[in-house]
């Protein structure tokens, strides 16, 4: 049985991260932006788990649990904020949220 080389995981992780960043930058819908942020966190999780597994070091996996908890809290808060915004403005388009500028 051949193991999958570490590079594969890392490339995937980097790809996920970049996808996440670009998604945050270009998507208009707030919910999709949030999902992209989750994507960024998960890419970090993936590389943490990968390193952890390859080095036989459990710290990385423990860290991932923490990150997952944080991500859950973040998602809850993010959705709450979106609901509050939607009630006030009746839109989910993030680029229309710009009454404060300059």
């Amino acid at each position: 049985m051949t193991t999958i080389p570490i590079e594969y995981y890392l490339v995937l992780s980097a790809f996920m991260f970049i996808t996440g960043v670009i998604g945050v930058l270009i998507r208009r819908n707030a919910i999709i932006v949030f999902m992209c942020i989750e994507l960024m966190l998960n890419s970090a999780n993936l590389s943490l788990v990968t390193f952890s597994s390859y080095m036989g070091n459990s710290i990385g996996q423990v860290f991932v649990f923490f990150v997952m908890t944080v991500a859950a809290a973040e998602a809850a808060i993010g959705l709450a904020i979106i609901i509050a915004l939607f009630r006030n403005k009746m839109t989910l388009n993030i680029d229309e949220v710009n009454i404060m500028k300059w």
């Binding site: 960043v21 945050v24 930058l25 270009i26 932006v33 993030i94 680029d95 949220v97 710009n98 009454i99 404060m100 500028k101 300059w102």
Partner: protein, 645 residues
Amino acid sequence: MTQYIYLTVLLPLLGFIVNGIFGKKYFSEKISGIIGSGTIGASFLVALLSFIQVLGLPSEQRSIEVSLFNWFNIGNLNINVAYQVDQLSLIMALIVTGVGFIIHVYSIGYMHNDKGFARFFAYLNLFIFAMMNLILGSNFLILFLGWEGVGLCSYLLIGFWYDRKFEKSTTSDAAKKAFIVNRIGDFGFLIGLFLIYLTFGSLNFKEVFPAVNAMSNTTIFNLIALFLFIGATGKSAQIPLFVWLPDAMAGPTPVSALIHAATMVTAGVYMVARCSVIFASAPAIMTLVAVIGAVTAIFAATIGLVQTDIKKILAYSTISQLGYMFLAMGVGAFSAGIFHVMTHAFFKALLFLGAGSIIHAMHDKQDITNYGGLKKYMPATYKTFLIAALAISGIPPLSGFFSKDEILWNAFANGGVVLWLVGVVTSLMTAFYMFRLYYLTFEGKERFGHDAHPHESPKIMTIPLIILAVLSVIGGFVGIPAVFGGENSNLFEKWLEPVFADANRKLSFYNSYGHTTEILLMLVTVTGAVCSILLARFIYLKRISIADNLSRTFPKVYKILLNKYYVDEIYNTAVVNPIVKISDRFLWKITDNKLIDGLVNGTADVILLISGYIRKIQTGVTQIYALVMVLGIGLAIFWLILSIK
């Protein structure tokens, strides 16, 4: 009590803060007055207790430094907020808080019903705070802060009635004049301080003064002393910077008494006395000080002869007496000078407060030609005023006699006959114009209209007068000259001796004249003074026509004196107008308006323009923010790659 000496500084500050913040809204006149004078009274008590305690110490332990905290320590400039308790500062502290307290109490009556009552007391307290810093500070920086502080208070108080007219202009103009003229002196003083710091690397008294003894470079001392003295001429209204003091009379009369007679104007004298070692090391400047003092004394006295505004006469008399003090400093009679500061504080404050009482009674009219016969209406004012006039004229055994005599004697012994003669003539003139003022005011016919109803002032004003009168009578007995009481009778001089020991050693005068000469000179002065008084009585009580004839016979002299030698006009033509014109035509319209404004406004416009673009980055769209952030990280990584190579 000496370790609590800082209370004498802090209490007035407290009074200022409390009266300044809450006075107008929350306090009645009574409370404001009690806070204002109470804090000063408490300060006086602290000073008095400290004085008594120091009195009990042997003379070499009488100089105590009370350090509050280290203010800053940058490079080798180490400044403590520390107060110096020694013979000189205690005397000054007693004068300032004592006379200050009396004047504060008097002001409660004088300022009654004024809309700025609380503000007045706040300013007065602030003044005492600054003055105490000036006196007690144990380094030149604290002294300078006090120096500037009293200047500020003087400005605020001269312009206190900012909405009133004064002579041809307004009180604010008088205040501005005082401030600007003082600034010229302050500038000199500041240069002196820089020189001191450059020469000695310190600003603390206890490091600078001993260092002076160790150095023998006269040039630098001449320079330092000169600049310090320029500072003193500004604050103490000496030639050529005296012009502000007569105008300072625009302020309320208690202010004139406290600041422009008894305390602030003597700051210059105090400063010279404090730096006596430096001055003693600069013989040329000592002579200059003596000459300026003598000339100022006689110059101001001649002007005083013909003035008709009661406060103006007293103002010129103050300048003249300050000249006396500088004469004393210049001939090395430091303790005599300080002695005169003290007696002068008593009788001149009394004269001003008496004048205030009269002005109060005459409904703000100040021209003495419209007074006359006030004796029977205002008995207390009349008696105390008479005592003060006798004291300033140098009639024994009132206080003025002793201090003046000591100065004249020192001028004769150490300075020469000319200085003495100038002093004596000044003294005769002083006696003359003081009694001219006295007779025109209190004796003779009533020359005021029927609508005026002169009346004695309330007790709160007359009791301070009485206290000051008592002090004017007995104040001189602490300095009985050796010729009367033997070696140890001059307590005042003995008390101050350690402070001036270093300076006196440098000057090392030896007295070649005997007691007979001294008594003879004394007789000349006293007889002269009595004659002057009698002459004034004859002219202004019996033959008023003589005065008119005189002024008609010598119209030019009269006119020159009446117009104060046209000094203001000369300054206006020679200094003020050219500066105004240059400023107006060149500095303002070209340099300032075009060059500097152009530069500044241009820069400002460019900055505004740039910033107008910069803020546009902040588009309000979150994703743009994130984009810029990502680009920033990208740039940083790019820089990393470049720097690694």
